[in-house]
């Protein structure tokens, strides 16, 4: 009965978001305020209904109700509770419901925090959000319904894919979707602006917090996914240029460009048309990613052709929204007036360069991802585009961008002085080279390019700090004044600096692990030793264990440095009983930012076992850098909160300062 209530709530949600999309639009055309006022209420109601529906599905998983087909296919009564809950979105139907839930969650947020928006803009934004919700609610109900019942109900479920039975599944998809779907708000704002034919700095001020929030979540989601793959897959890789990864990375690149161009628009009213286009493109890339991942087209063009219902449906959504948005853009962009002027060498100019490189990079990754599909569809010829292609093209594009990053904040708006900025960055460049040389001295050798890369990483960090240093006037004014100035710097200055420091930290991690990791593949018997990263691992032997829904064999290793025992590592292979499916659980020990990674291979006939041991220097920097970037986004967001209230009416002073996003 409760399942049917959840199903019914989803149908009702469809009706509600339909109302949310149609009535306010009619309201703006007829200038009818009461119709426009329907939008926020409908958005909140739609959110409540989808939330209820999602809770019901979660409940079915918690109580292991195998009469629900979706639960039967993806759950098991013996599964630990956390994986029962995260298993809700560990499959196609559930994850689409999570997608919809987050979409209507953002609609509800917009409805709640938009009281000070012009009412036509507010109505239009919510209407566009409503339209997207209609499309996805229909998609779920028509092609991917998680509430379908089985009769008779099976006694036991088929269990969740064991690789997904991990804390990573609980965190990664929700974060990723918060980012992916969060860009829908920017998209809706762009469409609403095009409908109105009017756009100004205030628009950018409303859009930027949403872009910041979505970007921060997407950053965290991608980093989390990367770390999950790293420890779960058991061969120590952390980025594979896999089409599914690219599907989330392309919106991230476009979203990063959007953040920067919206900044120009907010501060200087320039790049308006471009920013609107970028807002449309970013969410289009999210939709395209959803299509690629959910339609099955990636596995094979033929798999897509044999069961095209879902794929064609999402393709239709894609064509309608992207095509519609771009047509509207082509039709209306001319009505948007060009904004402030600036010289090529200026803060604006630097941000334009940032946009040029980031969008080219996004387009390159997109081309590489789709090229094999298109070529096969058009000519029948199969080719592969893999990591070597992406590393080369993406790397070449990133190099000038990374070198230019510290210049941006040091250039003045309108007209900057690149020589002066260069002089100010002299210290940062010197620090980068000196630190890199110090590493070279300590390491005593290694590829030259790696040291160049490390120098860029250090230079990025030092360059970001230079900006704070100069703005606070450290060394130029009295210490207490400088301190007061430093504390008084706007949050966005700290946000920028943090995000750029994060990029530097990630670069150091990537270079460190790519250039200096060591790998040992050996067959070991108890008592044998292997050296890695200055440690000596001694294999003690294997032990059998039993988990709630798996059996495992674990190898035990003692880790010593210079003859002194430091720690121990367990590395396991599991066999999940329900699906008869093995997984590797790598043994990982962290030393500073570096890790020792031990993975078990096959048992050999003579009693030995294949062991792979990696020393991964500085690898944690990759994800710590991403977290720092995310923190930068959050700090910047806090700053917006205080200043965004500008369009609020002065007479109605509210007791609590409402966030205007």
């Amino acid at each position: 009965m409760i399942i049917e209530l959840g199903h019914y709530a989803l149908v009702l949600a469809l009706a509600t978001v339909l109302v949310q999309s149609v009535l306010p639009l009619i309201g703006t055309i007829r200038n009818d305020r009461s119709l426009m006022a329907v939008a926020p209420a409908a958005a909140l109601a739609g959110f409540m209904l989808v939330l209820f529906s999602f809770s019901v599905l979660t409940f079915a998983y918690i109580v292991s109700d195998f009469s629900v087909g979706n639960v039967w296919e993806n759950s098991h009564s013996l599964k630990p509770m956390i994986y029962k809950i995260s298993g809700v979105w560990g499959n196609h139907e559930g994850s689409m419901l999570l997608w919809l839930l987050i979409l209507v969650f953002f609609s509800a947020l917009v409805a709640t925090f938009s009281a000070n928006l012009p009412e036509r803009l507010r109505a239009n934004v919510l209407a566009v959000q409503g339209l997207i919700s209609v499309a996805f609610a229909l998609f779920i109900l028509l092609t991917s319904n998680p509430f379908l019942r089985l009769s008779p109900a099976p006694a036991e479920g088929k269990d969740l894919n064991p690789v997904l039975q991990d804390i990573g599944l609980a965190i990664h998809p929700p974060l990723l979707y918060l980012g992916y779907v969060g860009f829908s708000v920017c998209f809706s704002f762009a469409i609403a602006a095009l409908i109105e034919g009017r756009i100004d700095a205030a628009w950018a001020r409303w859009v930027r917090p949403w872009a910041l929030a979505a970007w921060s979540f997407l950053t965290a989601g991608i980093a989390m996914g990367s770390y999950w793959a790293y420890y779960e897959l058991g061969w120590g890789g952390w980025w594979f240029w896999d089409p599914v990864e690219n599907a989330s990375f392309i919106p991230w690149l476009a979203g990063t460009a959007l953040l920067h161009s919206a900044l120009v628009m907010e501060k200087r009213e320039a790049l308006k048309i471009w920013t609107v286009l970028l807002a449309i493109l970013t969410f289009s890339m999210s939709l395209l990613g959803t299509f690629l991942v959910r339609s099955g087209v990636l596995t094979s063009v033929h798999a897509f052709a044999t069961d095209p219902t879902r794929g064609v449906f999402i393709l239709a959504i894609l064509v309608i929204f992207i095509g519609g948005a771009l047509s509207l853009f082509a039709f209306r962009a001319a009505t948007l007036k060009a904004g402030g002027l600036f010289a090529p060498i200026s803060r604006e100019g630097a941000l334009v360069l940032n946009n040029l490189i980031l969008t080219t990079a996004a387009a390159t990754v997109l081309t590489g991802t789709l090229y094999p599909l298109l070529l096969e569809a058009l000519t029948g010829e199969k080719i592969s585009v893999g990591p070597p292609f992406f590393n080369l093209t993406f790397g070449l594009l990133m190099l000038p961008l990374l070198l230019a990053v510290p210049f941006g904040p040091l250039l003045a708006w309108k007209r900057g002085d690149i020589l002066a900025a260069g002089q100010r960055l002299f210290a940062a460049a010197a620090i980068g080279l000196v630190l890199s040389a110090a590493v070279l001295y300590a390491k005593n050798g290694g590829p030259v390019l790696a040291y160049f890369g490390l120098a860029i990483g250090f230079y990025l960090i030092a360059g970001a700090l230079t900006e704070l240093w100069l703005r606070a006037g450290i060394g130029k004014v009295a210490a207490n004044v400088a301190f007061r100035r430093f504390v008084g710097l706007p949050g966005s200055a700290f946000g920028t600096a943090l995000a750029h420091i994060g990029v530097g930290v990630t670069v150091i991690g990537i270079i460190g692990v790519t250039a200096f990791q060591t790998e040992h593949v050996v067959e070991m018997k108890p008592g044998m030793q292997v050296e890695a990263g200055g440690f000596t691992l001694t294999f003690d032997g294997m032990r059998r264990g039993q988990g709630p829904n798996y059996t495992e064999e674990s190898g035990h290793f003692m880790v010593a440095r210079g003859g002194v025992a430091v720690t121990e590592v367990w590395s396991s292979k599991r066999l999940y009983t329900a699906r008869r499916m093995p997984t590797t659980e790598a043994g990982i020990r962290t030393f500073g930012f570096s890790q020792l990674y031990v993975s078990l291979g096959d048992a050999m006939a003579d009693g030995g076992i294949v062991v792979r041991v990696w020393w991964k220097p500085m690898i944690l920097c990759i994800w710590i850098g991403a977290l720092i970037m995310m923190a930068g986004g959050a700090v910047s967001l806090c700053d917006r909160r205080l200043r965004v209230g500008a369009p609020q009416k002065a007479r109605k002073v509210k007791p609590v300062l409402e966030a205007a996003e």
């Binding site: 990636l298 007036k337 002027l341 040029l356 081309t367 990591p387 292609f389 594009l397 590797t584």
Partner: protein, 153 residues
Amino acid sequence: MMRRLLLAAGFILSALPAFAVNPDEVLSDPALEARARALSSQLRCMVCQNQSIDDSNAELARDLRLLVRERLANGDSDGAVIDYVVSRYGEFVLLNPRLRGETLLLWGAPAVLFLAGATAMILFVRRRGGGPTGTPLSEAEKAELEKLTGERN
């Protein structure tokens, strides 16, 4: 990412008794082995989803790894090994597609896009005269402004 995990799991299942590069495959000559590893990371495991034979644990990937090492041990150059593998498995096996008529657009895309963007940018900056900037006030805003300033006066 999730999908990748699923697929990886699928291949672990389909090929139980194998695990990427095994100690028994490794060549005794370290220089030759290093070349073999570098080549392996550019060759696709034909039965996998976007995995190189160096990372894959599938039986077929193992065969291909052994083949590469055999050719290298026979004195083939890197290019000759690649040519040989392509002649047997087709262009699909290359993770780094070669520059040909079919891949011209792929390799050209980054440069073309970058140059097109840069050109558009320069033209845009050049063409723009010193016209008025900013957003003009709407009628409603003008009325409101007049009302406000009128009240002041």
